[in-house]
């Protein structure tokens, strides 16, 4: 009878395509919005992810997330270095000065000042040039997106100059840094130079980057640093989630995306539910005939579920394909780089759409189950 169920489904082309269309677009919207949301949230901690040399981040207890920091005292670095289990600990400056080009273009930028001696925290994925050239005087490494923003339409080229707080610096490398939350250019410089790109404050150190000795886990070291210094010490992963949690709790982003996702879900459920219900109601006479002929309620339920799961699967596959194409294209664009279709969202939306078609079919199944087969005799 599966054959009969599928032929009944595909026989009414308009409703069949309508159901697939509704589920496909609902899937596309859900996967699209949830993945963009997750991508934006990931951006809040992308600079933490970019630092591969340190597993523990130490900061002032008042610092809650990466974008806004309270400076540490210079002595805090020494205190952290004194904690047992620390392999090395280096300072990190973070500031947001305005960078200007010779042509007059300007943009606020995220400047990361890394340890002069070790260059721990330097970007490791380079598009052009070498991060080791940061040892040269008045040198910076800028990310590719930032370069394109400041030197719009111009080819990637080293030795161009930027001016920050009356300091002229040369670009010695172009990196592939993760996109920042506000899409500002990411500029790496040596600590001793980076502190001059902003108006002078007494203390400039935003973070201490720490690597544990071999055999010691970052969680345990972070715990030791907290106990020994009273500073806030988080593993890189914990700190990244702190940033995400901060934006979730303190911005309207989740609400905005949540509303879109909810609307996509409701529209998908209502449209597919109503269409499927109409489809079944219009076929009630046929279902009645099948009941009279000797098809059990259980078999009819199976037929309707098969129809629902078939349109659900096809619609979901098309919607996921559309979402994959969307992210394949936009993931290659600079402004939307690193925003990807996450497998967790694909699986989650799959479960949601499964529930949508099952709920939609349940309404129809009830109508068929209570159908009196004798009704088939009434002309």
């Amino acid at each position: 009878m599966n054959f009969v169920a599928l032929r009944m489904l595909t026989g009414d082309r308009a409703k069949y395509l309508g159901l697939i269309f509704a589920i496909a677009f609902s899937t596309f919207l859900l996967e699209n919005q949830s993945s963009i949301f997750a991508g934006i949230m990931r951006r809040t901690g992308s600079q933490i992810l970019d630092v591969t040399d340190a597993e523990v981040w130490v900061m002032d207890p008042a610092t809650k997330y990466f974008e806004e920091t309270k400076a540490l005292k210079d002595t805090d670095l020494l205190r952290v270095r004194g904690v047992a289990g620390v392999d090395y600990a280096v300072r990190l400056f973070k500031g947001t000065p305005v960078a200007r080009t010779a042509a007059g273009n300007f943009s606020q930028a995220v400047v990361l000042g890394i340890d002069d001696a070790t260059l721990v925290g330097a970007p490791r994925t380079m598009k052009l040039g070498a991060w080791e050239r940061l040892r040269e005087p008045d040198s910076v490494v800028i990310d590719r997106a930032g370069y394109n923003l400041l030197f719009r339409g111009e080819p990637l080229e080293l030795e161009r100059t930027l001016e920050m707080n009356d300091h002229l610096v040369r670009i010695v490398g172009i990196s592939e840094a993760g996109a920042s939350f506000a899409s500002f250019p990411i500029i790496h410089a040596r600590y001793s130079e980076a502190v001059n790109f902003l108006g002078r404050e007494r203390s400039q150190m935003a973070f201490v980057l720490v690597r544990p000795e071999p055999g010691l886990g970052p969680e345990e070291l972070a715990q030791r640093i907290r106990q020994s210094t009273g500073l806030r010490a988080r593993t890189a992963d914990e700190f990244r989630w702190d940033c995400i949690d901060y934006y979730l709790a303190n911005t309207g982003i989740p609400v905005n995306f949540g509303i879109t996702i909810a609307i996509a879900l409701i529209v998908g459920l209502v449209v597919s539910g109503q269409t499927f219900y109409l489809f079944t109601v219009e076929n009630l006479k046929q279902f009645g005939a099948l009941k009279a002929i000797g098809v059990t309620n259980g078999r009819l339920t199976g037929m309707i579920l098969l129809q629902a799961l078939t349109v659900g699967f096809i619609g979901y596959a098309i919607g996921t394909g559309m979402a994959a194409l969307f992210f394949e294209y936009f993931g290659r664009q600079i402004a939307t780089r690193n925003i990807i279709l996450m497998w967790q969202n694909v699986v989650g939306v799959g479960v949601l759409m499964f529930l949508v078609v099952v709920v939609a079919s349940l309404l129809s199944i009830r109508k068929v189950l209570v159908l009196e087969p004798a009704a088939v005799f009434r002309g």
Binding site: R7, K285, A292, I293, G294, F377, R378
Partner: protein, 235 residues
Amino acid sequence: MQPASTPPPAVRCRSVQKHFGEGDSRIHVLRGVDFEARTGGLTFLVGPSGCGKTTLISVIAGLLDTTGGDVEVFGQTTEKLSGTERVLFRRKHLGFVFQQYNLLPSLTAAENAAVPLLAQGVPRREAFDRSRALLVKLGMESRADAFPNKLSGGQQQRVALARALVHEPRLIVCDEPTAALDHATGEAVMELLASSAVHPGRAVIVVTHDNRVFHFANAIAHMDDGRITHTEQRP
């Protein structure tokens, strides 16, 4: 005691009652029906609209419960069967021909005729072979792959007849099989029914008020106001 030459009744109804609704709105549709249909012939159930014909065949087919009396189909009291057993009994022993054909619009003629076999779990290929062979016998060879909306009323009723016969049931119930057809087509359908459905081991009950086809009947049970008023046997 019945004469040795008389076939046993395939369907026997005794004092069958059926009412719908409760209290003041209760409607008595069957008021103690006694009815028999024998194998090897066509038994017509005739009477004015609203006299209870359709309700009676629904009860006989196990599609409706009675509110009193007994219904036996080939010795089986259908009231004693559970819901599922009744469905399985219908699937195996009954064939239906409906006034409005009730063919599935998205299936071809051959596929429609194969539905009872598919419901029994017969493999698809075998089911289609058997339904196609039957359609050939019914003169529908060239239309076996046509969809119902491409068939005339008479052709659709022939497909419905094939669907009723394909699984070789022992009882066929036809509800106004000629009502939607013109006289000539109705006559042709009845001829086909008489020639292909009538079988020594099979009973055929035809509900109709089309007196132009009464000459096909082996027995005619006249019904009025929820009762069988009289039954006439025909040679």
